[in-house]
Amino acid sequence: MITLWIRGLLRRRPGRLLSAAAGIAVAVALLASLGAFLAHSQATMTDRAVRGVGIDWQVQVQPGTDPSTVTRTVQVTAGVAGSATVSFGTSDGLTATTGGSTQTTGPAVVLGIPAEYPALFPTEIRTLAGTDTGVLLAQQTAANLHAAPGDTITITRAGLPPMTVTVAGIVDLPLADSLFQKVGAPAGAQRTAPPDNLLLLPTDQWQQIFDPLAAARPDLVSTQIHVRLDHQLPADPAAAYTSVTAAAHNFEAATTGGAVVGNNLGAALDAARADAAYAQVLFGFLGLPGAVLAALLTATIAASGATRRRSEQALLRARGASATQLIRLAGTEAAITGLIGVAIGLAGAALVGQLAFGTASFGTTPTAALIWSCGAAAVGLAIAAATILLPARRDLHSATVTSGRATVARPAYPAWARYGLDAVVLIIAGLVYAATSGTGYQLVLAPEGVPTIAVSYWALAGPAMLWIGAGLLTWRVTDLLLGRGRPLLNRALRPLTGTLAGPVAAGLSRQRRPLTRAIVLLALAIAFAASTATFNATYAQQAEADAQLTNGADVTVTQAPGTPAPADRAANIAAIPGVRAVEPVQHRFAYIGTDLQDLYGVRPASITQATALQDSYFTGGTAAGLMTTLATQPNSILVSAETVKDYQLQIGDPINLRLVDGRTNQLTTVGFRYVGVVSEFPTAPKDSFFVANAAYVAAQTGNEAPGAFLVDTGGQNTTGVAHRLETMLGTSATVTDITTTRQTVGSSLTAVDLTGLTRVELSFALILAAAAGGLVLGLGLAERRRTFAIATALGANRRQLRGMISSESVILAVLGLIAGAAAGAVLSIMLVKVLTGVFDPPPSVIAVPWGYLGIVTAATILGLAAVTVAAARTAGRPAIGVLREL
């Protein structure tokens, strides 16, 4: 009997079966794609965290311990790929006499590094000028001493005569923060900034200078062993963190207290754990609604055949089929539908992976891909059971043979609507939103050094409740409009249906529940597409802002230390083909008290011609407002929040900074007035800095030389322009372009290829929106073929049939799109707010992807139009033939 039934189902009702399978396939494909993508993302995060670390471990040899003993222990430790012994010495100060003046620094750190160090740790030292071996002077120290390669530096030693060395090169230490960490000290006890004055010597030379000091003042010298690990780590950042931390503890135990490990790799993985948690949250926010939507679509598809199924069930019962037999039939139908859906879904996911990422497994391991595929398949089968088997079972227990024959159920008002569940859910969504947008809220909390990580998954409840509430509210409003609003519907349909408006409105009103479900589904699909696209667009906008902040502009020209820019440099740069605007920016070092900070002198009226300033970079005013203040009050200055807190500044307070005077080469005091807080600025570092009026700084210091030029190319051909500038400027300046910067900046989260995810998600959203409209409408109309056949037999012409069919499509399109747009707008705002932690920097405006939204709308309307035309054509068939078939 089951075989007979299934054969009949496949031959007579392939549309019903395949449509439900298609819904399941979308859910399975979406889950399998996003799951595999998530697994791949986490592996990417681990990889990126590992690559971002210059020195995996900094092993601090404890006083009284022989460094060679620790070195031997390092060498026999499992997982160690290489190591180098680095000596640290403290000098009372460095002195240089250049250009007829003598400059002396405060206390300096002198490192002794072995010859193999640059090869072992290639990202630690970057040569800016001169050679990359021999005596190397840090960039800022060189600026303080006005020293260049070939100059002589005097190293002052406590209680010992000074020694001199000749500078061979000027270097930058990009990872100085971690290099000069206090190994073993808690986060709060770490130094706030790397040493201002820094000199690097070959180990032999260092020993000549500092071995005598070590004998006299052992407290002024120390030894570290820098270790590179082999990076055989688990793909998940959290697991990799645990593994690396355990290995470090194991090593410390092996040295019996002779060494403490500065676990830089562990710290990087620690941070990546948070990003991995964010990725999981993103998966929850962006992926699950799609899967739920696909399940709802399947349920709606299955429900569109419910009347027929009930009627068939009633017939079978009347002919003597037992309840068990009917359940078996429904179970078999569910299983076949589920298996077809799973097969298509997994094949679809593999295809999506191939198209979007180049591999069917989304770049993840076969095991992870298999696990996610199995999980997605299980969900697919569960959806089939929930949408086909359960309703059949429920009908069997609640419906009678007579009621099974009924084709138009009197719509009853569901309990949730009577008790106002939609309002309750929306209020909860509002409360969650209020809580998550408050200050101090963090979606992901990963306390440094602690293996556990806290993800505030309940924040998911906000958008989830909003989504559910929007769906329920759409249901209520639509039900009201189609039910009690029948006179209104009658009038609205008259242009389409003419004299038939009354019966068409009456029919739609009585059979409004399937149409209402279709409208709710379409609205949710549109809301999903809109919110996902808006989130992704905003994410892309902020990633671009991050790249802009880091690089400064499309292309940035930074003058080499000690190489002042000629007066016509800006004009020369502007003459390069492809350059639209050039903006010089001064870069100075300024002392506030004893603290040395970067100071950027800008031309407030024209800075935005070459770079973008977002309001979120500032506190106390908008970007435009504060630039106007800088222009109209030239002595005004923008200060970082940390400085404001440290120096207890109030708006309007005077600030005296000490800057190098270009005329005397000595520090001079310049008075400013504090007008606002700046947290981000193009080319500025993440820590404290100042932004001031360039003309004022130039007038006060007698030096207008810019430190950098921000070049706007209109976003076009940045690498080409950068290449031309490099050719023109040679070694006098460093040229960076935003395209290259984009690939290197950002957290490990931004390293995740969200473009691929975006492509996958937006494609699914588009499919769901089109399917929610077209497929559900089509199935609903197919179920009413008999109605159209009777109308034809009674004399309805093609125009009248088109009017009857298109009235349903128009109502679905209008109400679905309006409700979807409204829900999508609110949902987008909430998503961006709740997920603020994902953005760096936080967005000041939400980016709306109008193009994509236009495509979704067009696809929905086209889908509905295609179904309407097809249904009208089918309805035009000879009525008797149709009546005989049904």
């Binding site: 138009v408 009456a506 004399g795």
Partner: protein, 258 residues
């Protein structure tokens, strides 16, 4: 008009001056379902005419072609051979809804419309205003004695009630020709007799011709003329003012259906 093949048989009684034009005229009409080896000849070589105010019962066993003949007359099926025309109706019935009313064998009410809306539906299709259609529908329901069911949905009606509503729907449009395909097939004898009474009485009032297909001899005897069909052929036909011509005797080897 359908002209699938040249006429091979003349009408038994040609129209004469003063004789009203036939509402429907079939000349050597045939209808075949499908094609090739699966083809089923439902109606074959039927020549007949239905004049105004005629009362005809088409009888014959199941599958003899009764329903197909009525559907051909109603313009719902297309003749695959022969000539089918409606001279007394001014053209194809579906071109102007309401001139031919069909009572179907099975349930034919629109499930989402209540009884009043169902009955007024053909009038609206014909372009009548809401008010006119509703008034005519109420009158028709009243005539069929089912006015109290105006607000009921089809699924809430019994078989007899549904068929009376279907007849009311036909009568509301005041057709010139009523084609009733086994209108009492699913009813008990008593109800069937009542339904037929109502149908014939209403047809009298409207002056409409009635053709009823039935395999029930009791029902058939209620009408003055009986045509008999077998294997798609119209065998006999005698009545006042109308003629049915037995079709050319062709052995039916392809089977038949109705």
């Amino acid at each position: 008009m359908n002209a699938a093949s040249p006429l091979t048989a003349s009408p038994a009684t040609p129209s004469t001056f003063g004789t009203p034009a036939a509402l429907v005229s079939c000349v050597d009409v045939a209808h075949t379902y499908g094609s090739g080896v699966t083809a089923v000849i439902a109606v074959h070589g039927v020549t007949c005419r239905v004049l105004p105010t005629t009362r005809v019962a088409v009888t014959g066993p199941s599958g003899s072609g009764k329903s197909t003949l009525l559907h051909l007359m109603a313009g719902l099926e297309t003749a695959t051979a022969g000539t089918l025309s409606w001279p007394g109706l001014g053209g194809h019935p579906l071109a102007r809804p309401g001139r031919v009313g069909v009572v179907f064998q099975g349930p034919s009410l629109l499930p989402a419309l209540d009884v009043l809306e169902n009955v007024s539906f053909p009038l609206l299709l014909a372009g009548h205003s809401d008010q006119d259609a509703t008034r005519a529908a109420r009158e028709s329901l009243h005539r069929l004695d089912v006015a109290d069911l105006a607000d009921a949905l089809p699924q809430e009606l019994s078989g007899g009630q549904a068929q009376r509503v279907a007849i009311a729907r036909v009568l509301a449009a005041r057709p010139a020709l009523i084609l009733a395909d086994e209108p009492t097939g699913q009813l008990d004898h008593h109800t069937a007799a009542l339904v037929l009474d109502v149908l014939l009485q209403a047809a009298d009032e409207l002056g409409a011709a009635v053709v009823v297909s039935t395999h029930d001899p009791v029902i058939a005897r209620r009408l003055p003329t009986q045509w008999t069909m077998r294997d798609g052929l119209l065998l006999t036909g005698t009545a006042l003012g109308h003629t049915a011509v037995p079709a050319t005797a062709v052995p039916d080897t392809a089977g038949s259906r109705s």
